[in-house]
């Protein structure tokens, strides 16, 4: 019935139903929980999405949107099955307006492709998550993605001006637009980061940013993690806003060096990538100040990327660090916690303790300037006992983030992974207010059920069962 309806809307090559094909879509980067959708569809137009959504409504079947599936918290896990609407074939750039500094893109466009397109004109799209070579703009909108350069430039929501948005009942509305803010509620602001639970963005108006005139990219080498985190605190405290401030600890350095042979010192306790950008005038002074602060905090060496090639190589190492982690263990779980930046030294000590307590190796590569940690827990997913310890250690890390006044997610989202933490971060009345928003847009909870709120509806039990099955 459902399939017949879908086949009337879509050509055969836009529908997947074979279990072997569906297996690809059973999870995202959070591999601890898995569930296959009943069908995956690949619309190419807004009208097709509207038809799909209405068909799901008529058949009482849940649905959820998916981009490239690079998310890390189970945001596109098809809890309870249903129809997965893969947007990867909607990948056109519809308009680029350099004069007025915006572009209109389809949601399946890969993040980096937009920047590559803008590059010859001296522009870029500022949000640059580490997965930018694969992740889609639509997925970035759903999770309000960050990236290394958000410290100065802000996250996705700061660069999205408007959306063409399809509500779960099939209504299509334009929200915001090229001017960004209009009279009334900032609907764009609340739809960005809603993790696909309020509807589906079918077009995105994004801000495009002029490339900086110059960069100063430094690599600070520290004997100990503690020195590196103190340095971060001093740079921020000195009133400098770097474009990026990223830390990698010894485990990561070793993995990255093995993968890319950049020349990282293998005995270093931690390295910091410290980048300032903007006008050439005044940049050298900032580079000098940062270098001094690094030396004051015990850096044994501060290297500077002297060419664009060197700079790119350094960033490649940083952005592909997660891939390099595959060299350290068969499986890994990337966590995403936030603490006030001054609490970083304490938090990193605590992560080390937690690693010892649960007998796990934990590597750290993260957006230090934002206080946004990404501890990577190394394990073997074939060993249920290790999986249990990974979950418990993750829990302990996030508990500590909360105890320090932070958040359990800075850029990956709640998804299904962190459902249990929502009641820890928010009071029941706070959650009920968020649920009112969900109810307004998604009254039947047909769109992305079982996400973000532990009390969102009947699908929770299915979710819990899924969790047990995965373990």
């Amino acid at each position: 019935m459902l399939l017949d309806d879908l086949r009337r809307i879509l050509p055969p090559e836009a529908i997947l139903t074979a279990p072997s094909d569906l297996a690809v879509y059973e999870c995202d980067g959070f591999t601890i929980e898995k569930n296959q959708p009943d069908v995956v569809v690949f619309p190419t137009t807004t009208e097709q999405i509207v038809h799909i959504v209405k068909t799901c409504g008529a058949n009482h079947v849940p649905f959820l949107p998916r981009g490239a599936g690079t998310s890390l918290a189970g945001g596109c896990l098809p809890v309870g099955g249903g129809v997965m609407i893969a947007l990867t074939r909607m990948k056109r750039i519809l308009e680029i307006n350099y004069r007025d500094r915006y572009a209109i893109v389809e949601p399946g466009l890969v993040n980096l492709w937009l920047t590559n397109q803008l590059k010859p004109h001296g522009f870029h799209y500022a949000p640059d998550p580490s997965s930018q070579g694969a992740c889609t703009i639509g997925g970035n909108v759903a999770t309000n993605s960050g990236g290394p350069h958000t410290l100065k430039y802000g996250v996705t929501v700061n660069h999205v001006l408007g959306l063409e948005f399809i509500l779960p009942d099939g209504q299509v509305r334009n929200v915001g637009g090229p001017l960004g803010d209009y009279l009334g509620y900032d609907l764009t602001g609340v739809l960005v980061g809603s993790e696909g639970t309020l509807g589906i963005a079918s077009k995105v108006w994004v801000r495009i940013t002029r490339n900086p005139e110059a960069y100063g990219t430094l690599l600070g080498v520290f004997a100990a993690v503690e020195d590196a985190t103190n340095c971060i605190s001093d740079i921020i405290g000195a009133g400098i806003i770097p474009a990026a401030l990223e830390m990698m600890d010894q485990l990561i350095i070793q993995a990255v060096e093995a993968a890319f042979q950049f020349g990282f010192p293998l005995d270093a306790g931690a390295v910091l990538i410290m980048e300032v950008d903007g006008l050439a005038a005044g940049l050298e002074e900032e580079v000098e100040r940062i270098t001094q602060l690094a030396m004051k905090n015990g850096a044994r060496e501060v290297r500077r990327a002297m060419t664009e090639t060197e700079r790119h190589k350094l960033w490649k190492c940083r952005k592909q660090a997660f891939g390099a982690v595959g060299r350290l263990a068969p499986s890994y779980c990337t966590q995403d916690g936030v603490v006030p930046r001054t609490q970083l030294p304490h938090m990193l000590r605590r992560i080390q303790e937690i690693g010892r307590q649960f007998d796990l190796r934990i590597a750290n590569v993260f957006h230090a300037g934002d206080g946004n940690l990404h501890p990577i827990l190394l394990f073997d997913e074939r060993d249920a006992e290790q999986v249990r310890r990974v979950l418990e250690a993750s829990h302990a890390i996030l508990e500590e983030c909360l105890a320090l006044g932070g958040s359990v997610t800075g850029e990956h989202g709640i998804g299904v992974e962190k459902l249990d933490f929502m009641p820890r971060m928010f009071a029941p009345e706070d959650l009920s207010m968020m649920l009112r928003l969900r109810k307004a847009f998604n009254p039947d909870d047909r769109c992305s059920p079982g996400k973000m709120f532990p009390t969102a509806g009947a699908c929770i039990e299915a979710n819990k069962a899924g969790r047990r099955a995965a373990l």
Binding site: V155, L179, D186, A281, E286, D370, G405, E429, D430, M433
Partner: protein, 402 residues
């Protein structure tokens, strides 16, 4: 930005000291079936407000006694304050740590943070620093059950749950009473520079071109015109590290060679140098006027919008980097002329809003123009957040939203 006047609807007022007192006042009004109008410094009180007859019986809840600094971990560059804090007091607190909130607010000694959030207040530095949505990271408000609701948090990066902070910015008191906010703040720029030119009507187009092409990055650019004066003023402000400001001042003057002998002010120094011009502009934006309106269009459309805007204004301010023109008139202008301009602006995809005018302008079509496509979603949210239409009835939604 309108002065409080006899047009203001008269409601009984409760002045509340502290969040619990605000909550008690809200609960009392809810129990009595009254509408609730959160009230700050009243500097923008009448903007978009309907005449008294359109507002049901209501109670003003005065938040100016709810103004404490809750937490200011300066090295984390965040601050948590109660919503009734005056903007000038907030900035003074931040200044003691060499920090600021780079949002320009007219009448900052009166205006409160909560009011600015509700109105999405901004000024000329919007070009360089963005708007309040770029700084608000956490919020607390009282909802229609009289509960204290929190969203966001106190760290600079956080995607847990829906970002209700965004929803409340610009909501004009229609979704709840904002009681507390957490902001990320920035270091005060070390240096600032100011250029002021006088230019003729025929130089308008080359100036817009220059502003698009310049290699400098102004924190703010304003063009100020007055009817009856063929010349207008161009103010350009730079902020940042000293070397960067100095270079930009030189660079801009090189690029503006055709204006070389029309430069009337050039100054470099501390933040005061740029603040002087910003204060002047803010004063113009808030000066008493019979009619006041503002429009937003894309930067490329300004060349068409500016002459059309001048026809109905005796004072016009343009912020080219933001696609924003503000106009005012000392005398009441013809409503049809405003609607004509609005039609042109809306045809460009822009928006014109009336901020002040005679009483008979106080109807939605005149104040806000044609509802955009997302207005239906705003109503949907209003219905779910405030089904009884208790928060600021008459603002945005004339009728009971059903």
């Amino acid at each position: 930005m309108t002065q409080p006047s006899s047009q203001s609807p008269e409601h009984p007022r409760t002045t509340a000291a502290g969040v619990e007192a605000v909550r008690a006042a809200v609960r009392e009004a809810l129990a009595a079936g009254q509408g609730i109008y959160p009230r700050g410094g009243q500097t923008q009180w009448l903007e978009g407000m309907l005449p008294p007859s359109a507002s049901a019986s209501g109670r003003e809840v005065d938040l100016t006694g709810c103004c404490a600094v809750i937490d200011y971990p300066a090295r984390d560059m965040t601050i948590t304050v109660q919503a009734g804090i005056r903007i000038a007091d907030l900035q003074a607190t931040l200044a003691r740590e060499g920090q600021w909130l780079p949002i320009d607010v007219p009448q900052a000694h009166e205006a409160t943070l909560g009011g600015c959030l509700a109105m999405n207040t901004h000024g000329p530095r919007r070009q360089g620093y963005g708007t309040l949505r770029d700084y608000l990271i956490g919020i607390e408000f009282i909802n229609d059950a009289g509960e204290r609701i929190k969203a966001g948090g106190r760290v600079v990066k956080n995607v847990a749950g829906y970002d209700l902070c965004k929803l409340l910015i610009g909501s004009r008191g229609t979704l709840g009473v904002i009681t507390q906010a957490t902001l990320k703040v920035r270091p005060v720029p070390a240096a600032a520079g100011r250029l002021l030119y006088r230019f003729g009507r025929d130089q308008f187009a080359p100036i817009l071109n220059l502003l698009e092409q310049t290699a400098s990055q102004p924190a703010s650019v304003d063009l100020e015109g007055q009817t009856g004066d063929d010349a207008a003023h161009l103010g350009v402000l730079f902020e940042g590290a000293k070397a960067a400001v100095e270079w930009q001042m030189r660079q801009f003057q090189r690029e503006a060679g055709f204006l070389a002998n029309q430069l009337i002010e050039e100054e470099i120094g501390g933040l005061g140098v740029s603040q002087e011009r910003v204060d002047y502009v803010l004063q113009r934006l808030a000066a008493p006027a019979a009619c006041r309106w503002q429009l937003r269009v894309l930067p490329s459309q300004l060349a068409d919008a500016w002459p059309a805007a001048q026809v109905i204004s005796d004072q016009t301010l343009m912020f080219p980097g933001c696609g924003w023109i503000s106009g005012s008139s000392a005398r009441t202008v013809d409503a049809a002329a405003v609607q004509n301009l609005r039609q042109r602006v809306e045809a460009m995809g822009g928006q014109l809003t009336v901020l002040a005018g005679p009483d008979d302008w106080r109807k939605p079509a005149m104040l806000w123009g044609t509802p955009r496509d997302d207005w239906a979603l705003m109503r949907l949210i209003k219905q779910h957040f405030d089904p009884g239409n208790r928060f600021s009835p008459g603002r945005f939604f004339v009728d009971q939203p059903t």
